[in-house]
């Protein structure tokens, strides 16, 4: 399975709709400080169902939505969509393309979508788990995380192995 594309709209600093198209090799993301690179990493974690706002550098749902700027009014909704190629059936479902979406509103409400149909968070989590993607602990290695891996307590480090098991 591989990631074909990521679409963002209203997610953090991505007020305008953007699309990243990935191929199977190594993709590098570059740009100046504060431009939005880590926000892309956050978006991927977020659309995979991350519930800890702290790990997304926020405190609540609202922090995920474009808060406005000198040049632009704030938005009412954030959305991110992952488009996955599943032709190798890594995920044991009968789709060769899997689309996972998440939307959040200022009310604090979060919605999850699988191939365009509204589902519950646990449906997304279950699907990912069956596809071996519940190991979120090392799917996205965030900025500054690499050193934390070493300063974890032995008990915390064990969790990485439990995820891998």
């Amino acid at each position: 399975m591989y990631l074909k594309a990521l679409e963002l709209q209203g997610y953090k600093s991505f007020a305008n709709k953007v699309e990243f198209v990935f191929d199977r090799g190594v993709t590098a993301v570059v740009g100046p400080n504060g431009s939005g690179k880590s926000n892309v990493a956050d978006a991927i974690r977020w659309v995979l169902g991350e519930q800890s706002y702290r790990s997304l550098r926020g405190k609540k749902t609202e922090d995920m939505i474009f808060s406005g700027s000198d040049g632009r009014a704030r938005l009412g909704m954030a959305s991110a969509t992952l488009i996955l190629d599943n032709s190798d059936k890594w995920m044991p479902i009968d789709f060769s393309e899997v689309t996972i979406s998440r939307r959040a509103y200022r009310s604090g409400e979060n919605e999850y979508y699988l191939n365009g149909s509204r589902v519950r968070l646990k449906d997304v989590a279950e699907l990912l788990a069956r596809g071996g993607m519940s190991r979120q602990t090392y799917t996205v290695i965030g900025q500054g995380m690499i050193d934390r891996v070493l300063s974890l307590h032995a008990a915390e480090r064990r969790l990485l192995f439990e995820e891998a098991a």
């Binding site: 590098a28 993301v29 431009s35 926000n39 993607m133 900025q143 690499i146 098991a165």
Partner: protein, 162 residues
């Protein structure tokens, strides 16, 4: 459940030795169970000895050495239990040129089975990419994204440095 953990630990621990020696160009390291008789609750510790140096507490390692050691662990976990794609956010920030090269090699070796998305400021890491995206902040403080060609970007960077 304990079985799965024990087996995974065995395999990852084996990989870890290899990855450490590869990333450090030598030396040795080990993953150690804090309580081997209690597989249900044991924690996992790391000991590491860079090449030529004597085994000491992990705290005495340098910033770059810590990065490489952590990378050895992450790569080992990925090798034994891959996720289809992985995002690395500036994991090469502390590395000198020689070590960025070794990080890149580790990346390319796994790149057949794992799709890597690497956020980086580092030229040498960028050289190993086949797709390049630039992110920048517009005047309206909204993020903009554009697709770049690796060799063109490297050319532009070289020109800017002169």
């Amino acid at each position: 459940m304990e079985e799965a953990f024990a087996e995974t630990f065995e395999q990852v621990a084996k990989e870890f030795k290899n990855y450490f020696s590869m990333l450090f160009g030598g030396g040795e390291a080990q993953l150690i169970l804090t309580d081997p008789d209690n597989m249900l609750e044991t924690g996992v510790d790391i000991v590491a000895r860079p090449p030529g140096k004597r085994l000491q507490s992990m705290a005495l390692l340098s910033g770059g050495e810590r990065s490489l050691t952590a990378q050895a662990l992450i790569f080992s976990l990925l090798r034994i239990s891959p996720t289809p794609f992985v995002i690395f956010d500036e994991v090469d920030a502390m590395l000198d040129e020689a070590n960025v090269g070794r990080f890149r090699d580790a990346l390319s070796r796994l790149a057949d089975e794992i799709q890597f998305i690497v956020i980086t400021h580092n030229r040498r890491t960028i050289e190993s990419a086949n797709t390049l995206y630039g992110v920048s902040m517009g005047d309206d403080s909204v993020s903009q994204v554009y697709s770049l060609k690796v060799d063109e970007w490297l050319e532009a960077k070289k020109a800017a440095k002169v």
